[in-house]
Every structure is written in structure tokens, then in C-alpha cells.
Subunit: 289 residues, 2 copies
């Protein structure tokens, strides 16, 4: 089974283990709607790519970590789209969750997915109990306070925003967690992978800012122009389109430089280059050299 299929199967299985005839049916349907069909699954694929690079194979603990991280990402999208935040009507080419299921179920779906993220992670302790404490801490740091997604979203509620802290938390935190968890779950030193994960996250954030101004809404499955409308800090607002493209290239280069010594370093570099070319909106993509 290829990596993408393994991730989908593991996501499905983790949900199926936690719903059943005794669970409220509409909430069950809403949880599935939040996770399937997925987006690009960039964070879990990063996690397993690091595992592959460190261990020469994708460990089962890395799959658990990847699933956990994707659930947290999906939870953040559902809560982010709520009327009290972005009030987004569309997500992944169809109605956002609160438009399809109502606001109460959207709040609960996010909550259920956060809990499920840690429940699914518990299985990472099956092979080695000692992995779990560090994986829980790593993933909690990437998603909660003071530097994870929730903190990042929290900066949007402040009168004065420190842009660097905002981006590092809102995007960088979970990317760093994906890289660190992939390494830890494969017996490697997680801390050595933090800078790499953060650079990948920052690159993703810049690419996302570029897509918001230069992609078609059909390409990204949601309306464009949101950053400007919501006056969010954005690399494009700060640097212009060509400046942001240049920044993206620098960040990808920095990520590649930050890859620690590991068995599968060449394979991982190819993965990064392939991923980064997928991030750029079609109309800005350069022809391959």
C-alpha cells in the first residue's frame, strides 16, 4: 500500500473505532465530513516522509502521529470556518461544515477531533511505551498554547499582533510537530528536526498567501481574496507577489538545508521539491528547468 493510501486507511480506521451504533448519528456524519475527502494531507505526509528518512521505513508509530496531526488540522479548519471567525461558506469545494450541519455540530466536530487526535495517538505506545509521552507533548505543543494552532488563531483576537509569532504558531507549530513526531516515532532525535519542520511550515504559509491572491477558487476549493478581506497579515501584502515567490524559494532552500543527517536524506529532498511545486498556484508556476 502506498503512503497516501496508508494514511487514508489509518484515518478511516481511527474514526471507525470511535463511532458506532451508540454514537449520535449526525455528529458521526459531521466528523466524517470534516475528514473525508481530505485536502492535500501535507502534514501527515511530511510526518511519514521524515519517518521514512530516519528509519528507512514508515513506522506504525509514525502513522499514528500522522493521523493525530491530520485530525488536529481538520479540527482547526472546522473551527476556523465558524461564523465567529472567518464565516467561510466553502471548504474543499463544498459547503463548510457549519453550513452543512449547523454551528453546534461544527463546534462539537472540532472538539471530537481534538480528543480523537490524542486517542488515536495512544496506539503509538503499543510498540514502545516510552514513545508516547514525547509524542503527546510534541503534538500538544504544535496544536495548543503557547505556540500551536490554537495560539495562532488566538493572535487573531488580539488588538496588537506580532506577525512572526502569529505565523509560527498558526502554521509553523503543526508542521514542526509533524517533522519532530515523524523522527521521534522512528527512534531518531526529534529536536534535530524542529527547524526543518518550521521552515516547511513557513513555506506553506507563504504559498497559502500566494494561493489566496493568485489561484482560482476552483483550484483551492474555497474563495480567494480572504486575507485582504479579513485584513490578515500576509506575505503577499508585505512583499508583493514576486517578493513572496522569492521568499517561498528561500524557505524551501532553508528547509532542505535544515534536513539533519539521516539515511534517506536524498529521498526526503526530492519529496520536499515535489511538495513545494504543488504548493505554488498554477498560474505562477515556473516551467520545470
Amino acid at each position: 500500500m502506498d503512503v497516501a493510501a496508508r494514511i487514508e486507511t489509518a484515518l478511516k480506521r481511527a474514526i471507525e473505532c470511535n463511532v458506532g451504533p451508540s454514537s449520535p448519528p449526525r455528529l458521526t456524519a459531521a466528523i466524517r465530513y470534516a475528514v473525508f475527502p481530505g485536502g492535500a494531507r501535507i502534514r501527515p505526509r511530511l510526518c511519514v516522509a521524515v519517518s521514512q528518512a530516519c528509519a528507512g521505513r514508515v513506522t506504525s508509530a509514525a502513522i499514528c502521529a500522522a493521523v493525530s496531526i491530520e485530525f488536529l488540522h481538520c479540527a482547526s479548519l472546522v473551527h476556523d470556518d465558524l461564523p465567529c471567525f472567518d464565516d467561510a461558506a466553502m471548504r474543499r469545494g463544498r459547503p463548510s461544515l457549519h453550513r452543512a450541519f449547523g454551528e453546534p455540530l461544527a463546534v462539537l466536530t472540532g472538539d471530537a477531533l481534538i480528543v480523537l487526535a490524542f486517542h488515536a495517538l495512544a496506539a503509538a505506545g503499543n510498540s514502545s511505551h516510552s514513545l508516547l509521552p514525547i509524542l503527546v507533548r510534541t503534538i500538544a505543543r504544535g496544536s495548543g498554547m503557547p505556540g500551536g494552532i490554537v495560539a495562532g488563531q488566538g493572535w487573531e483576537c488580539e488588538p496588537h499582533v506580532e506577525v512572526g509569532a502569529y505565523h509560527r504558531a498558526k502554521t509553523g507549530g503543526l508542521f514542526a510537530a509533524a517533522a519532530v513526531a515523524g523522527a521521534v516515532a522512528s527512534g531518531a532525535d526529534g529536536a534535530a528536526w524542529h527547524a526543518f519542520g518550521e521552515s516547511m511550515g513557513e513555506a506553506y504559509q507563504v504559498a497559502d498567501d500566494l494561493r489566496d491572491v493568485a489561484a482560482d477558487s476552483s483550484e483551492i476549493g474555497k474563495p480567494t481574496g480572504k486575507d485582504a478581506a479579513l485584513r490578515r497579515p500576509s506575505a503577499v501584502a508585505q512583499l508583493g507577489v514576486s517578493g513572496a515567490l522569492q521568499r517561498l524559494e528561500q524557505l524551501i532552500a532553508a528547509a532542505i538545508d535544515a534536513v539533519p543527517v539521516c539515511a534517506g536524506v536524498d529521498e526526503l529532498r526530492s519529496h520536499i521539491i515535489t511538495e513545494s511545486s504543488r504548493l505554488v498556484p498554477r498560474k505562477l508556476a515556473r516551467p520545470a528547468a
Copy 2:
């Protein structure tokens, strides 16, 4: 330090470890507001009472579990009070969190507390790594799908509600988790404590229904009469006040019967009797025999 003070200190410490100069200040303040000053801390006190009964002392892993459970409880109150659910104006005698900080920060506070619950739990793996997987699963079950608080809240969004499943999930789940986690964290067999925890949860639910009709709002720090206004299933609606009081006594007796053989069984029984007398609204309380 007595048990109540130990729980407060541990709650404070867990929050302080996860906020700092780099965390968004308003979200930080909102998280503290959600947790302090607390309510009766019934669930964490149950967890540590079970630890004391099993091990003859309160283990540090039980304190971690108690903290985790209280954070999840506080998160559920904050989200429960949101305009899309109860739209509650008051909680613990002062404005509910979304009235004090706004809806976006109320959503994020709940999210941050769920993540923090698992982050704080990770320290339970410090003494023995093998405890953590079962503690994570136990507490996730009590809080998520299919039978935890989130699922219970999910039943409120269904056109047809199975009342038993609703109560077992919305209240029983986290009480059962508190009892089971207290036992597991003390080296005892968690499964043996499940029925006891569920009975305590059901008793608490009936007492809560009684307080909703028979307490002053100053006694419980929030308006009364909410169940009838929101047409929620309630033991009082079903059995009347005296029927519900009788049911409460039966449930307390059932909980006492369900206490497994353990070193501190007598002390635990006194704890249950003291707790249950605190649950009954003042105007319904019988004079001590």
C-alpha cells in the same frame, strides 16, 4: 498540603507551563478565567479519592489524571455556554466566558483546554511509561466519541434522543473516566471501577436536575429552570422532585455497593456520603440522622 489544595496547585502549574510571554494575552486570560476560581472540582476529587483508596496515598499520576479531567470539564462548560448551545449569560456567579471575552475566544479557550488536558496528562508517564496509553484512552473515552461528554452534547443535536445514552455520555462518561483513571494511576485494575464511576455520574446528573428546579441561582452560580426552558431530558421532569430525590439516594447506594475491594474502602464510602450531601440543594436537604 490537603487534596483540594494539591489539585488547585496542579491546575495552576499545568496552565503556567503552557503560557508565557509568547502566548496571546487575551486567550491566556480567558483560559485562566475558565478554570479559576473553580466549581466544586467534583471529578478531580473523585479521581484522587479513588487513588487514595487503591494505593493508600494519592499518586502523582492520579494528580495528572485529575487535572486532565478538570480541564476537559471546564472546556465542556465553556463550549456548552456558547450562543449556539445554551447561550448562558452566567457561570459560577459571573459572566460566562463568551460574555466576558467574546465568542471567538470562548471557542479557542475550549480547544486550548482540550489540548492542555492531554498535554498535562503526559506527565503521568514520568513515573511509569506503561500508564500513559491506558490513561489517554480512558480519558479520551470519557470526553470524546462515542460515549464521552462531546457525544453527550451531540445527542442534543439529534431529532431523536436516547435519554439513557445522552446522560451516560454527557455526565457519566467523565465520572467513569475519573474513577477508572484514579485506579489505573495507582496500579489498580481500572475496569473494576467503571460501574462505580458511572453510578456517581448518574447520581450527579440527578442532583444537577434537582438543583435546576430547587436551588437558588446564587447557590449554583447560574440561572435555574434551564432544563425546562431548553426542554432537556431531566430526572425531575420524568420522576417529579420527590421521585428524583429517591432516585438520587438509590444511585448513591448503588455507587457505594459498586466500590471494588480495596484498602481504603471505608474512607472512600465516607467521601461518597459527604460529596452526595453537598449535591442536594439546601432546601431539599434532610437534617442529618
